[in-house]
Symmetry: C2
Subunit: 256 residues, 2 copies
DNA sequence: ATTCCAAAGTGTTAATATTACACTTAGTTA
DNA sequence: TAACTAAGTGTAATATTAACACTTTGGAAT
């Protein structure tokens, strides 16, 4: 392994984007992981991916491409989705991010020198599971959802990146109504509450949640009701982005 | 200007760090800006810097250097300060960040190709003005404090970076007690309040602020009082970091 | 010594927000 | 038609917020 270190040329680092794509299946929060192309891990004939064979979708930033564009491109190539919530949250650049054999080999598949340093700009994205359609992609054999509570060992420092993304999404969830990006346009209040509970990892009292979120006044109650449930059907609501943005009033309050 | 565009080689982008260093003089929030070395702006003989001659302190990331280390190094070289609050907040990578003649020429002073793309990882830092001692630095002729309310035109996209840093610091100020980094170890509650007012750009009611911040229970009241003021001397307080960190209790509350 | 000045320091009340908590309703399935 | 399951609802006790004005203290000026 060490032999690579001495070969490194004095070049600028590669720069990539990686996307932590979250999806919510009404039970758990999931992350979309790709299985890297076969052939770069020796002796892996089993059907389940080898340790570290899974990774976050990512790619090098193209020349003349904005960072956000690169993120959107990766997302699009993998999911065929446009106009998706996507937010940069951190750059990762430890000089030894690319450390093991498998990672180095994979570098070639993205046309990078195997010994180069890679600095990555990480994004998190929120997609509705029902909109997601797996796409053949240049950087992935398969892609699959994994619950955040049970992420396997990933390539590079991607486990760290997922953790940081989770922290970022939790922080943001309390300050901006981003949760709606993970739900269908019409949803029940219980679905919304379960989403919050899942992301925050904490139970929320039904009546208080209901009152609190309805007071915000950006949920439009519809006449429509849930169908196909074996119990009393819940009323459906819609998120009114316009209203949220107009009502926007900066609040001064210590939360520390 | 256009002639540079065609010369760009197909190389990885340069990667730099830039630091938005904030200081508080009990009146205003200030940012430390450097005046770039002379000679790269033609016909600038006046004593005050030409438009765009001012910039955020920054430098390329060294090989085998972590991003945070690079930020700390830039800070240290300019201020001779160690162990200063420093936090990454965003990466900027617009392909045309380096656009004008002066910026391109300056690239050479930091040993970069003048036509290269530069992606920068931006940090904000909070320093006590009284601790700051300007240092000769490899990338700056002078450095000087400028009030955030009156930042001149800067090099590259540094005006944008300063704005984003301000937004980041405002956000963080409400969620973590970072304000103390800008005050001397012993301070009065009025000084603390004015700091908050300055950063948030909003007046805060004296009695309510006092009650609210004291209830947090991480301010140690000292027996000592302010000296040298032409009115009743205020009691001095100290921030108790230990206590803050132990009391830390995650809070669930929508602020949107 | 006395007065003046400027900011420090202090308490109450009304309105609002938060928490904790249990029963009834409605739709589906057996 | 009975059983099941989640939806939907209200209240009371407590805590927090916002608005508001006067007294105290120490130094500076006369």
């Amino acid at each position: 392994m060490l032999e690579y270190g001495n070969l490194r040329k004095n070049l600028n680092p590669h720069v990539s984007v990686d996307c932590v794509i979250f999806g919510f299946d009404f039970q758990e929060l999931n992350v979309l992981l790709i299985e890297r192309e076969e052939g770069y891990i020796e002796g892996n004939s089993s059907s389940k991916p080898a340790r570290g064979a899974l990774a976050l979708p990512g790619d090098h930033i193209h020349e003349d491409e904005k960072l956000d564009q690169a993120g959107a491109r990766v997302l699009k190539e993998l999911t065929n989705l446009d106009n998706i919530f996507l937010e940069q949250f951190h750059a990762f650049g430890h000089p030894n991010r690319v450390k093991n054999e498998a990672d180095r080999k994979w570098m070639k598949t993205i046309r990078a020198e195997p010994n180069a340093r890679v600095i990555t700009v990480a994004y998190y994205s929120l997609v509705r599971l029902d909109r997601y359609n797996p796409q053949a992609s240049s950087f992935a054999k398969h892609a699959a959802w994994f619950p955040v509570s049970d992420i396997p060992e990933l390539a590079f420092d991607h486990n760290l990146i997922v953790m940081r993304a989770l922290e970022a999404i939790r922080r943001t969830l309390m300050n901006q109504p981003i949760g709606f990006e993970l739900l269908p346009p019409k949803f029940t209040l219980s679905q919304l509450r379960r989403l919050y509970e899942t992301i925050l990892g904490k139970e929320l009292e039904k009546r208080n949640f209901r009152r609190k979120i309805l007071k915000k006044d950006f949920l439009i109650p519809l006449e429509e009701k849930q169908t196909g449930v074996p119990h009393k059907a819940a009323r459906l609501f819609q998120f009114d982005k316009e209203k949220y943005e107009s009502h926007q009033t900066e609040k001064y309050d210590f939360t520390f």
